[in-house]
Amino acid sequence: MKIFWYRVKRDLLLAARSRNEWLNPVLFFIIVTSLFPLGIGPEVNTLQTIAPGVIWVSALLATLLSLDSVFRSDFLDGSLEQMLLSPYPASLLVLAKILAHWLTTGVPLILLSPLLAVFMHIPLTTIPLLMLTLLLGTPILSLIGTIGAALTVGLRRGGVLISLLVLPLYIPVLIFASSAVATHAMGLSVEAHLSLLGGLLFFALALAPLAAASALRIAME
């Protein structure tokens, strides 16, 4: 367990030292979302209807942008190989990387989402729920995305390929989360949406680290 926190701390330290890594996806999130009113028009009603979908799609894309770098530097300097050779279970170490990835990309997205919600005219009472769906949903994005990153590790042009592999798998999260926000804005109960999202989170938490670890093993063979 100690090694787990050690890994998380190391990755966070690395992220803190290279600011672009985690800052760029966040800026991307803001810019993409603010493009929609410009493309569609500033009408409040239209923006309100598309807002949950737009914010969530931007969050998916922002996460995708950051996935390429999850294993990149570790692969290049050889520490990934050392990680797999170490006596600790690889899936635990992968989980540490996922946690660090979520802390550096998922959490900033959650913290910034109220600003975007205001941009998109989401009712103020719905903003906490939007943050809650992001809180439940972005870890799933990191978990599933890491499988894609592990499968494409070592490929020169992994970036676009990851999106091909991972985006179809993101569809359930997008559906449940954005419709939760839309339903709440209409004043209906969203318990079902949230429990489904929670279920997906635990399911991904159980299986994704194992899959990502074996994908890394295959890639490093």
Partner: protein, 247 residues
């Protein structure tokens, strides 16, 4: 039993075996599809609601079935690749992908053609069409990953893992799409309840489905034989084969 299986799946023996049975499979496929098309297009009565345009189901439905069946075959062979490292299983997964993607595309294209007279538009975000579209994305993702990795051995195993991840996700995606559809169901789409299908339509449909299965087997074996030769280029049996023409 197991030793026999092992012998058959050795690349050299399977190459020969596939070469012997494939003409038979092709012939059966041709008979099934021709008779299915004849019965379906000329003999089956027109539908009382949809007239003649319903006849596209004789291609659409078998193609949609095959799109799912092929993915299941890929999932089984991917499992065998990862667990037992069967060479042949990896080749079967790889050879199936393009065929499965083609079936999925065919199902989408015929569904869209059918949608024009039925719904008045080429595309409707219907639950089944949407799931089929996502299935096509999964196939294309597999093909992209498999061709992006240069080392063939790594490519086979990495993309096999992707198939397994996909097969776990398929039911989740399917039900979430269905749920999404019931939430946003547009009022203009008339949902057809399942009518009990007439025997004159059912028989050609089943013939076509069987014919498509044999077509899959036929193209699969063709492709597997080609891939086997490509993979085993350096082995003795391929060298001999290339020198003497026939094995």
């Amino acid at each position: 039993m197991f030793a026999w299986f092992h012998k058959l799946t050795a690349p050299k023996n399977f190459y020969r075996f596939a070469g012997i049975i494939n003409p038979w499979i092709g012939t059966i496929c041709l008979i099934l599809i021709l008779s299915g098309l004849y019965l379906g297009l000329f003999k089956a009565p027109p539908d009382y609601q949809q007239g003649e345009s319903y006849r596209i189901i004789f291609v659409h439905v078998p193609a949609a079935w095959m799109s799912m069946f092929v993915y299941m075959v890929m999932a089984c062979s991917a499992f065998m690749t990862l667990v037992w490292r069967y060479k042949l299983a990896g080749i079967i997964t790889e050879a199936s992908a393009a065929i499965g993607a083609s079936f999925t595309f065919l199902a989408l294209a015929t569904g869209s053609l059918w949608g024009k007279p039925m719904w008045g538009t080429w595309w409707v975000w219907d639950a089944r069409l949407t799931s089929e579209l996502i299935l096509l994305f999964l196939y294309l993702g597999y093909i992209a990953l498999n061709s992006a990795i240069e080392n063939k051995k790594t490519a086979t195993r990495a993309s096999a893992l992707l198939v397994l991840v996909g097969v776990i996700n398929i039911p989740i995606i399917h039900y979430s799409v269905e749920w999404w559809y019931t939430l946003h169901q547009p009022a203009t789409v008339t949902k057809m309840d399942k009518p009990s299908i007439h025997l004159d339509m059912l028989i050609p449909l089943l013939l076509m489905a069987l014919g498509f299965t044999f077509f899959y087997a036929f193209t699969l074996l063709l492709k597997v034989r080609t891939l086997l030769i490509m993979r085993e280029q350096k082995s003795k049996w391929v060298q001999e084969l290339l020198e003497h023409g026939k094995s």
